[in-house]
């Protein structure tokens, strides 16, 4: 119960408010628009790298989730969700051999899947 609440509040903090800012269709790219798109590319790369880890792919396979599908969905996430995911992944303990790191990765994978709509485990009954 407490756990569920923790997770729900995590989600609501993490993924509240989105809205993708595309550069306007003009010949000059504004500084802010450019910075957001380049952040976006960097964040996609971070999340993608996590999805390509063998331990993460193992977890995805165990859950019966198609990796390619998940990667495509990640590429379509709104900027803010993507930034948040990348931040979570970046803050993981380095190395990735400890139990904690693996559990952390699983947690992130589940978050990714929730956000991308592959599964909806966090929407409790």
């Amino acid at each position: 119960m407490v756990i569920k609440r923790l997770i729900c509040s995590l989600i609501s903090v993490a993924f509240f408010g989105t809205g993708m800012l595309m550069p306007v269709q003009a010949a000059m790219v504004g500084t802010q628009a450019y910075l957001q798109t380049s952040d976006r590319q960097a964040n996609i790369a971070i999340v993608d790298a996590a999805l390509l880890r063998s331990d993460v792919q193992q977890q995805l396979a165990d859950l019966g989730v198609d990796v390619e599908n998940a990667r495509q969905r990640v590429a379509g996430l709104p900027d803010r969700d993507l930034a948040r995911l990348a931040e979570e992944i970046e803050s993981m303990p380095a190395g990735g051999t400890s139990l904690l790191a693996v559990v952390g990765i699983v947690f992130i994978v589940l978050l990714i899947l929730e956000v991308t709509g592959v599964i909806d485990i966090f929407k409790g009954r």
Binding site: I7, P23, A27, V29, G30, T31, L35, S38, V106
Partner: protein
């Protein structure tokens, strides 16, 4: 599956408790005794805290002046974007610190009071509070804050950093235009400048970009941002110089390639514009968010009636007389 999530959640939570923020500040105690104090009225910690940092940075303002700008009566509080917006109204740049204790302490070391958001209760029952950190004592593991009605509130590292973490480690300093924060990183600084660009007078923004380029002469995004600013201010020669600077640092900077090309096109330097945009087109895959803009620029250039550099400024825009 639910169990797996729960297990992950528990372990993550435990990890959070076990590690916590590890703060090992060394060196001198700092207390910025000259930072003014404004006692908060009722729930109005936002205006009081903001006035504290603004006055310290040389603005003549009182919390009462700020109430209509930042205080939301229904919520009995203020929101972070409004605090930032209000700082800009007084020509100060709100620089949000990297969310780490080290950044906060570095600002104090440099003499900058830091406006912080704290959560004084729990994640699930938050009580938000704004205060200003004005000093710290490493030996006693204590911080000094202007907070609420207390002019010199002492908080332990442990309790402060927990309440601060509860608010996402949100902290901001109010910069004078041209001032570089002690903890600054170029990406954060240039993002701050871009966010403030249309809200602060152009002359002040010029100082912001100048200082940024001086601090980080090898940052392509900084040069790109400064170039865009110069262009919007109607200075094509300065803009071209900065675009070329950005491209010397990072030859594949797609934003600089596109904007430099667009500038050259606008000034009638069609051939040079075509050269730049061709490079950009080769770098950006279809479906990239920048693809539509680059395609638009390229199509405009292709549709141009002439194909030469005929504009009067072309020589100056394309020559590398930058080090003059």
């Amino acid at each position: 599956m639910r169990a797996a999530v729960a297990a992950a959640g528990v372990l993550m939570a435990l990890a959070g408790c076990a590690t916590g923020p590890s703060i090992k500040p060394t060196g001198q105690a700092v207390e910025l005794t000259e930072v003014p104090f404004f006692s908060q009225q009722r729930y109005q910690c936002g205006p009081a805290a903001l006035a504290t940092v603004l006055v310290d940075s040389g603005v003549r303002v009182s919390p009462e002046d700020l109430v209509p700008l930042v205080y939301v009566p229904d919520r009995k509080g203020s929101f972070q974007p409004e605090l930032k917006a209000a700082a800009r109204r007084y020509d100060r740049l709100p620089y949000v610190l990297a969310p780490e204790p080290a950044a906060l302490l570095a600002e104090l070391d440099a003499g900058n009071p830091v406006l912080v958001l704290q959560n004084l209760l729990f994640d699930w029952w938050p009580q938000w509070h704004y205060a200003v950190v004005v000093g710290y004592y490493p030996d006693r593991k204590q911080l000094v804050l202007r907070s609420g009605t207390s002019e010199r509130r002492i908080e332990s590292f442990r309790s402060f950093f927990r309440s601060w973490q509860g608010a996402g480690n949100w902290a901001v300093v109010a910069l004078q235009p041209g001032q570089i924060p002690a903890s600054a990183a170029p990406a954060r600084y240039v993002a701050m400048a871009a966010e403030s660009e249309s809200l602060i007078p152009a002359s002040a923004m010029a100082l912001v970009f100048e200082a940024g380029l001086q601090a980080w002469p090898d940052d392509a995004d900084m040069a790109f941002a400064a170039a865009n600013h110069a262009r919007l201010q109607g200075d094509p020669v300065a803009a071209a110089t900065r675009y070329r600077q950005a491209l010397r640092i990072e030859a594949n900077h797609v934003g600089a390639l596109n904007n430099f090309s667009d500038l050259l096109f606008t000034e009638g330097c069609i051939a040079s514009a075509g050269t730049q945009i061709a490079i950009a087109r080769g770098l950006v895959p279809a479906g990239s968010p920048l693809d539509p803009v680059i395609t638009a620029t390229a199509e405009a250039i292709e549709a141009a009636p002439q194909t030469q550099d005929e504009g009067p400024l072309c020589d100056r825009l394309t020559s590398s007389s930058f080090r003059r």
